[in-house]
């Protein structure tokens, strides 16, 4: 039996000398669920984009069911029966479900026929969808269904899924897996990209492991442990995270009955958010993207304002203060998006150090920039956090994700905050830098600061948090000690399962 997809010697490098793929070879059999495993930056995304025709390889060849396969674009790929569900969906918020699906089909149908086929497929696979709703009004899980149904309607031979569970609550994962298993049983091969080891062990028949653009291993995931898979992926022995003990001090940040309207049509409204963050505490806020994380971050950093008494920094009402006034009170923040929010891509590192360090570091006098001090501050950050850069005059965009993130976290930490709010501190960062950042956050709490970590990575939160709360639909669950929570309960809360709970007093966690 010939393999469904055969990849031979694929190489691709990007301008600037980044080798995304080097001589990659593997095969996918019909009806197989095949994992492509690797950490961020290992070259998984480039490889699947090549298979889907979005990127053209520099060298190598592919065969689909024995025939040469060289898609010039996604249209070629779809004609050949290769479809893909993107990690960042390729959906159009202002269009309906049916229109979105129609756009991804080679042979478009009339609206009525399309609608009935959508209903049929979604019933068959248990993926409930209303063809005439606007995609902008759907939850993230529903949006993923739109992408999957779009693929299914084209009778695919190979379905590529790029990190599909990164946007789902634990409760939504099981039905997705059931759908995928059923598809595989019907003979469709699935190329499943992930760095979540438990999932791969639960779902996949085979795995190809990528590191730095090369295939480093091929294995049967069920025969491996999560630890052995991780070591294949990272290429070194993992260090256990240090055990931490939590000795709460006085309250550093109190949020009381905070309501905040959404400021754009597809935003989330925050309602009745209440929590307390104490000195020495790391509070993790879990939740699926788009449940109010952006809004919560903005209202804490001071980019959005609210009634004065709903946010107290120490004992000072701060709801109406802007970012710099909050910095003076000791609250610092590091946004999720590195380029464009935490840092300006086209400004130098020194200028980006000034961006958030001005008021606490005294980087200006009567409004005039003190270049010597700015320069020294930027150099301190680079040294203390091991940022790899040619110098303080490099533009922020020239740094790798991990290095820039270390710079940003370092910029805030070197200012010795009494409260630090970080959103997705290790998103898209390589494992080594991620570990360094987590360690630094713990150390900061150890020095008596209060740290709030918003993250979608549950493993990360469980690793570093003392207390945990879940943000779902703009509401925050009660704050609980992290050790006391099982994955199942967190999953239930992510689905909004706490909404009917009686609101516990915020100090229940102590």
């Amino acid at each position: 039996m010939t393999a469904l997809l055969e990849v031979r010697g694929i190489s691709k490098s990007y301008p600037g000398g980044v080798q995304a793929n080097a001589d990659v070879s593997f095969t996918v059999e019909p009806g197989e669920i095949h994992a492509l495993l690797g950490e961020n930056g290992a070259g998984k995304s480039t490889l699947v984009k090549i298979i889907y025709g979005l990127v053209h390889p520099d060298a190598g060849e592919m065969r689909l069911a024995g025939a040469p396969y060289h898609p010039q674009g996604p249209v070629d790929a779809r004609r050949a029966g290769v479809t893909m569900v993107f990690q960042h969906f390729s959906l159009f918020e202002a269009l309906t479900v049916a229109e979105n699906i129609s756009l991804g089909m080679e042979k478009p149908l009339r609206t009525s026929e399309l609608a009935s086929r959508i209903r049929k497929v979604s019933e068959d696979y248990g993926l409930a969808l209303d063809p005439f709703r606007l995609v902008g009004d759907l939850s993230v899980g529903e949006r993923q269904r739109v992408e999957i149904v779009r693929c299914l309607l084209q009778d695919p031979r190979l379905l590529i899924m790029d990190e599909p569970t990164s946007v789902l609550t634990p409760g939504e994962v099981a039905p997705l897996f059931a759908t995928l298993r059923r598809l595989a049983a019907e003979g469709c091969a699935i190329l499943y990209i992930s760095h979540k080891l438990d999932e791969i062990r639960a779902l996949c028949d085979r795995a190809t492991v990528l590191r730095a653009g090369r295939v480093v291993a091929s294995c049967t995931p069920r025969a491996e442990t999560a630890r052995s898979l991780a070591e294949m992926m990272i290429g070194e022995r993992l260090v256990e995270p240090p055990d931490h003990r939590f000795e709460p001090g006085e309250s550093r940040l109190s949020v009381r009955n905070l309501d905040l309207p959404a400021d754009h049509p597809h935003g989330t409204t925050l309602s009745n958010i209440t929590f307390d963050l104490r000195a020495g505490e790391v509070l993790g806020i879990a939740g699926i993207a788009g449940n109010g994380q952006e809004e919560l971050f903005a209202v804490l950093s001071g980019e959005r304002r609210t009634a004065p008494d709903t946010i107290l920094i120490g004992r000072r009402p701060a709801g109406r203060l802007g970012p710099n006034a909050r910095r003076r009170l000791g609250l610092l923040a590091a946004p999720e998006e590195r380029l464009g929010h935490a840092a300006a891509p086209d400004l130098t590192l020194a200028e980006n150090a000034f961006l958030a360090g001005r008021v606490r570091r005294g980087l200006d006098r009567h409004g005039f920039l003190r270049f010597g001090r700015i320069e020294a501050f930027a150099r301190d950050i680079i040294r203390a956090f091991d940022v790899r850069t040619p110098g303080t005059d490099a533009k922020a965009r020239a740094l790798s994700g991990g290095n820039l993130q270390k710079f940003i976290i370092g910029r805030e930490m070197l200012q010795e905050p009494s409260v630090l709010v970080v959103n997705q501190p290790t998103w898209g960062v390589d494992a080594r830098a991620a570990a360094a950042i987590r360690r630094a956050l713990r150390e900061l709490a150890g020095r008596g600061a209060a740290v709030l970590v918003i993250s979608q990575d549950l493993d990360e939160l469980v690793e570093i948090s003392d207390t945990l709360a879940v943000l779902a639909g703009g509401r925050l669950s009660p704050q609980r000690p992290a050790q006391a929570l099982g994955a199942e309960e967190i999953g239930r809360m992510m689905g909004g399962g706490f909404a009917s709970d009686r609101r516990e007093p915020a100090d229940a966690a102590s």
Partner: protein, 310 residues
């Protein structure tokens, strides 16, 4: 037709004629913006259409050829904008401004020999029976063919955007160009087509000024009509039907102020002449004030540059 006192039937007929250049320019710009591109050069494309249409109309003696040439000139100028913004990734706002400045200058240069000439006559459509109707005839059935074509074009654009697959693809490109690209649609190609269409429409609108409404060539004769057309697109919330409404609103204000001037109201003419501009500002303020609604209807990729990586 400028009677003392204001005759509502004549006012309406005048309004429809005055609205036609705005309608063409705005409906074209609507398609451009729906594809995610902001072309601020409408004024420049309109005036190029006005001068080209007039020159060709005069030399061939046939206004029809004038309109064809105006569409070509508008589209050609628009493609300069298209190449700069789509291939050379220049800033859309700055490039649109450049288009207007360049168009105004080039039109003045081309138009010099044509100042002070009258254009060939535009025949009105005459529908036996209907055009003879007492009030309705004058209100609806006695315009030149271009007026009807403008209304037809609005209808066609409505149908295209809402009911055809090509229209769906165009909207998708304007909504999220990265997603459209990853589905395999040629974002740049689609946008260039939309930009050329918008230019052709603006050109026809300009030619209607010089060939039908005024009808002669004077330097700077568009007098901000292209900018008002941009405002109409905002007013319309990107819906073709409301573009017609917006064009008629501004046509109405123009005609009303001309009638007021003619009727000898005690307000000096220069204050009345300010009206269309002040009304534009007023309308912009009213429409934009509801931020949430304004941003819901706007194409999400409007004005953002697209550069495919990989």
């Amino acid at each position: 037709m400028m009677e003392l006192g204001i005759n509502p039937v004549a006012l309406f007929a005048g309004l429809v004629v005055a609205a036609t250049p705005l309608l063409f320019a705005a409906i074209g710009e609507l398609v451009v913006e729906k594809s995610g591109v902001l072309n601020l050069g409408v004024e420049g494309m309109m005036i190029m259409g006005a001068v080209t249409g007039f020159a060709v109309g005069v030399s061939t003696g046939d206004p029809g050829w004038g309109f064809v040439a105006a569409a070509g000139a508008g589209a050609a100028l628009a493609l300069v904008f298209g190449i700069l913004t789509q291939f050379l990734l220049s800033n859309q706002v700055a490039t649109g401004l450049a288009l207007t400045l360049f168009g105004l200058g080039l039109a003045a240069l081309i138009g010099q020999p044509y100042t002070g000439i009258r254009s060939p006559q535009m025949p009105s459509v005459f529908i036996p029976w209907l055009s003879d109707l007492p009030v309705l005839g004058r209100m609806f059935f006695r315009y030149d063919p271009v007026v009807y074509f403008g209304l037809f074009l609005a209808l066609a654009v409505w149908f295209f955007l809402g009911r055809t697959r090509a229209g769906l693809i165009l909207r998708a490109v304007g909504e999220n160009h990265d997603a459209a690209h990853s589905l395999g649609y040629g974002v740049v190609r689609i946008r260039l087509a939309a930009i050329a269409f918008g230019g052709a429409c603006a050109g026809v609108g300009g030619a209607y000024l010089s060939l039908a409404r005024v009808p002669q060539w004077t330097e700077g004769m568009t007098a901000g009509a292209g900018w008002i057309a941009l405002a109409i697109v905002v007013f319309s919330a990107w819906r073709p039907g409301r573009v017609v409404l917006g064009a008629w609103l501004f046509g109405g204000v123009t005609i009303l102020q001309l009638n007021l001037q003619a009727s000898g109201v005690a307000v000096p003419a220069y204050y009345l002449s300010m009206l269309p501009y002040l009304v534009t500002i007023l309308v912009l303020v009213i429409i934009s004030a509801d931020r949430r609604r304004a941003s819901l209807n706007a194409p999400a990729s409007l004005g953002r540059p697209f550069h495919a990586t990989g």
